[in-house]
Symmetry: C2
Subunit: 386 residues, 2 copies
Amino acid sequence: MTRPAFSAPAASAAAGRGAGATAGPVHIQGTGLIGASIGLGLRSSGVTVTLDDPSPAALAVAEQIGAGRLLGAAGLEGAAAPTLVVVASPPDVAARVVAEQLERFPGAVVTDVASVKAAILHDLCASGADLTRYVGSHPMAGRERTGPAAASADLFVGRPWVIAAAPQTDPGAALRVRELAVDLGAHPTYLDAASHDAAVALVSHVPQILSSLTAARLVDAPAGALDLAGQGLRDMTRIARSDPNLWAAILAANGPAVAAVLRATRADLDRAIVALEAGADPATLGQALLELAGLVGIGRRGAERIPGKHGGAPRVFDTVTVMVPDSPGELGRLFVTMGRLGVNLEDLKLEHGQGQLVGLAEIAVAPGRGASLADQLVREGWRILR
Amino acid sequence: MTRPAFSAPAASAAAGRGAGATAGPVHIQGTGLIGASIGLGLRSSGVTVTLDDPSPAALAVAEQIGAGRLLGAAGLEGAAAPTLVVVASPPDVAARVVAEQLERFPGAVVTDVASVKAAILHDLCASGADLTRYVGSHPMAGRERTGPAAASADLFVGRPWVIAAAPQTDPGAALRVRELAVDLGAHPTYLDAASHDAAVALVSHVPQILSSLTAARLVDAPAGALDLAGQGLRDMTRIARSDPNLWAAILAANGPAVAAVLRATRADLDRAIVALEAGADPATLGQALLELAGLVGIGRRGAERIPGKHGGAPRVFDTVTVMVPDSPGELGRLFVTMGRLGVNLEDLKLEHGQGQLVGLAEIAVAPGRGASLADQLVREGWRILR
């Protein structure tokens, strides 16, 4: 039986991580997806975790899945006060909850994990709270599903966790939050609150809006048009399937930063519309072509700046595209073949056909290995799209 | 040795298709990716194919890879005239080339395969050519690479091929083009020229522009911001890596239809910007939340209209997310496991981590099968993101 390189026993998702630097106890205020996942992660390395949430249902589920114990439950009254409080409340109430927790636990470091930072810091400053013990942070993790039932101890593994210390933050407090992040398998990174908000506007919030805008045009599209949909449209509308209320709150909380980027996008859009209209006239076609090529060219340069697989410079792989009959088991057979050939797979993308039952498997391997892989697969009876 | 369900001998990509309805000879004018691929596909079922292209290099490569024989080459002088001519020239010259071919081969049906149809039809009508033998069409296929060296006999398998007959088109001519499409494994679909252009504007051209606009904002982004890039941004900027000159020509040729959609998008964008600015003010926050939730909600409805894997209603699968250590061979090991378990894989998506070397494999199986698959994988030592 082949076992993967993790040393974790099969039954426990994160036990392989062992004891971390977070001593605890840790109190988690807000037991949705993020709060409950933090609880699960800490519990798996033996940290004492207490939970609270305004929703009895969310609290019950979080405790049920093992994210921690209800604060105030019998037996915890004499327990030690938390050394760290994680506020995992929605962004519109996070500042108020942070202020309450700072007062409730005078010895604890308090962090919030909302996806916006400046508005919360601003409201806290205005409230006059002592912010030496407060460090805003943001674990950039999450999946389409929300709520504690979707929580996982491993949600943060390999993900960035932004730590947004302010000038008045005690360095020891920031270190406490860094330890939390690293204990949960995340990759700590440091940005001040305003830079954080500008960054997530750019790489997360604006893409969400532009995906929604792309998909919105399809609502009234004729069915015949939708039948022509290809992989490009599917890529562009994947995140359009996000939860509207969740995203409305996030976007509203980062309104100014997102609006700033979108104003620049609108200027680009205006130029594109002018160029497209000029393309219909032979007298202005040349200028239109220059403008449109310039737009696509700048976009290409921007896309090339996105880091590659492990945060390094983007790598170029050889790709081999295999035609996979879409009957049951065929894709599995391809995988068995690749496993037997010892293919060191860098990446894999599946594209499904329309009508005829053929899919394409785009296999990425190290540069220079593509040709021999293609030959091997053809010898095994697979059809390659050359 | 496991063999896939294709009956094709390993060495020949498309021989399994056998003889088609296209009798030939077929003349291909323009031997880029599409033209050369059509040639390869026809040659594999034994059809006589002649080639021509203004670029001697493109012509030489196309002949070299077996897409056909040069028209006018020794030995072809007494050959039968083509029954079908495929014009695979760039959209800005296609109308002129179609008119030339209609005159050159008075007995042939002539089709062009450009990605826009109305402008070409309009120019042909204005030229006074006899259009009973002309049928515009559009095989919706292609990969990032261009040129005859990237050609494949299987490029069109499972893809839509739009047939855009005009009122004056002879029905027999349209049938000839349908036979070509089906012989090449494509899925014929019928739209008039204007409806075609509106459709590709919506599902292909506008998404290209919006991807380029998303990516353009990254050109001047701080490196710290790009480090926070997740799967959503990668999805939104994949097609931004397209060739600028190729796309400038396509967009300019479909300018009015694309501009029409983008004007509606711009109106949505303006409303989003207003809502985002209103979100910063508590007095207008409620209205802002309604507006933003409405935008994301409409986008979600649009995305849900995109057909599923085989053109049917979108299906919902169970997904199991497996953590895959990113050391060599681990992904292959997962595939061997899945092959051995006989997993009937509906879809697979890989997400790569940042910093820490862990990737996520999102496995889609039939509804109801997810729980047992997760248990099986855990028993085999894999970690599941629950």
